[in-house]
């Protein structure tokens, strides 16, 4: 796993952790691969914004709760507290970019949409997500 994958996954595990813990491994692997594909296709500025934001989160968030970085060393609960602190700080803006793009990708997954009640069991995705199909676990860009 690359450092980028490690940091993106650590961030995503915290962001999407529910009462039962982080989302399933398959969905996280798909998410991290899809993020990499997004940045590959979107060009260097998008890559710089997201990588920069991820670096800020990885290295600046843990000290805010008195922990040593990187973020991935912390428990999921600690990561949530650290990122929450960072979100309320002046460094919150780069965090928003990472959070935004992860959410955009994550909530395109049919299981994620169902979990937040956008779709009901057996119901197809709404029009704004027309033709959404279950993503392949091994391919970031496939839909």
């Amino acid at each position: 796993m690359s450092l980028f994958d490690r940091d993106a996954r650590a961030f995503a595990e915290a962001l999407f952790a529910g009462p039962e813990g982080p989302p399933p491994d398959e969905r996280l692997r798909w998410l991290v691969a899809d993020l990499a594909d997004f940045l590959e296709q979107s060009g260097p500025r998008a890559w710089a914004v997201i990588t920069g934001g991820l670096e800020v989160a990885t290295w600046l968030a843990p000290p805010l709760i008195g922990k040593l970085p990187p973020l991935s060393r912390l428990s999921v609960e600690e990561r949530c507290r650290a990122l929450d602190k960072l979100e309320h700080s002046p460094a919150g803006l780069p965090l928003l970019a990472v959070k935004a793009i992860l959410c955009i990708l994550y909530y395109e997954h049919p299981d994620s949409l169902a979990e937040i009640g956008v779709t009901k069991p057996g119901e197809s995705a709404p029009g704004c997500l027309v033709e959404l199909r279950r993503p392949a676990a091994s391919s970031g860009g496939a839909a």
Binding site: G18, R45, W47, K99, I101, L113, G127, G141, A143
Partner: protein, 523 residues
Amino acid sequence: MSGEPFVGRARVNEASREGRDLELDADVVVVGSGAGGAVVAALLAEAGRRVIVLEEGPNVSVDEIQSMRPSQHMRRAWRDGGMTVAVGVGDTPTINVTMGRAVGGSSILTGGVCFRTPEHVLSTWEERLGLPQFSPAKLDAYFSEVERAIHVEEVPVEMRSRSTQLFAEGAEKLGYAIEPLRRNTMGCNGCGRCNFGCPHGAKLSVDMTYLPRATAAGAELWSDCLVERVLVEGGRAVGVEGTILTRPRGLAGKLGFGRAPKLRVRAKQVVIAAGSYHSPLLLERSGVGRASGQVGRNMTLHPAFRMFARFEVRVEGWRGALQSAYSRALESDGITMVGLFVPPGVLAATMPGFGTEHVRRAADVPHLAVFGGLIHDEGGGTVRRGPGREPIVTYRMAPADRARIPQIIRTMAEVFFAAGAKEVFPPILGQPGVGPDELRTLDLERIPALRLECSSQHPLGSCRMGRRPDDSVVDVDGQAWDVRGLYVADGSIVPTSLGVNPQLTIMALATRIAHGLRERPLP
């Protein structure tokens, strides 16, 4: 042109597939295939001119869009995957500016909203800027021509989403009039996906209308062509040159590792329509307009703020037209409120918190309504050359515009509360939802700019037209003051902000410029 609009598909030559240098020749070369460039290309091709259109981005067909998730459209057709910004200077938020980078330009990303330039704006152009050529009466024929070509129609009330209905209910209780929007659509079923390319071909963006007309009339349209310089000889524009963007569009390719094929087009007239970020960059690189000191300055953005509101009932705002209604109740304060909706993932992204808090709030997404407000701004944007291919853009908000932000937030929140919202989520980073009492105690005037979420879809004015070469980049016909045969025909020539979506204004001005070009003999 009369009757039904010409709707079809343009023939697109993908330069990246050629794998070789390109040397082309034309009467007119048009740089950019968006709302401005497409109009000029079609009208000149139909007048018998040999036209070549060069588009930096790829061709994304309706067939492809049908199998794309929204984020796949973003990564393929949006500039920087939607992460372009104007960096806030001073007490100004950093603004996320969305633009298209594909055949059809930003017209493929719009919600289809069409406004004629407001009369009070045209009065300002006449009285303050000395531009009587742009009175409502003189522009009427151009607007009418465009409206027929792209089938501008009113969005029926029954197509409104529940999100917009709720805002309208609240607005009515507070005495704010809500009016239907007009959009360039035909056969829209209200799937709410306009920003990510219409999957039904029902939004008549220029890739469905003007570009097919252009290629049907003989124009050549090339995608994947990055124009880097205007060729000037003896004070006259004689063509353009640049690079063919080969696939994949990865970092290595962007940074220029390896030799990319080159592009050179000789032409008798050059029309730049690369938008408010890239037209000034191209002029600057070509040494055009430097004497004026105005290239890349005076950019307006219509800084926009969204308001989310949570209702007890399910809203499911994704069902219905993405944009269907607006209010000009605050027009005299320089504010326009416009309905919109965004995909669930974007809604969830801007909810505060991480982990269980985020998951709990994300479960509220089906209960959220959205409305937006934009500022009819005074300007303050500057486009400069950056280290790579993209410009560095800064924006310093005028104090009067900055003072409008609390008013926008407060008004939209009050409207949603009047409609029965339980809490609202102002566009403030990390701000939890607030109820009516908390809203009153929220010191909106003192929220630091760094904590404000702000976006823009309407960059304008960075190569503004005017009466004199010392305060503008192009004359009233769109021609550069210092280079004959070089024209600019996009949002960058619009001399002030409009307070409304600019698509129709850009197209009407481009129509006017094209009519002027048709009348002039080629050199």
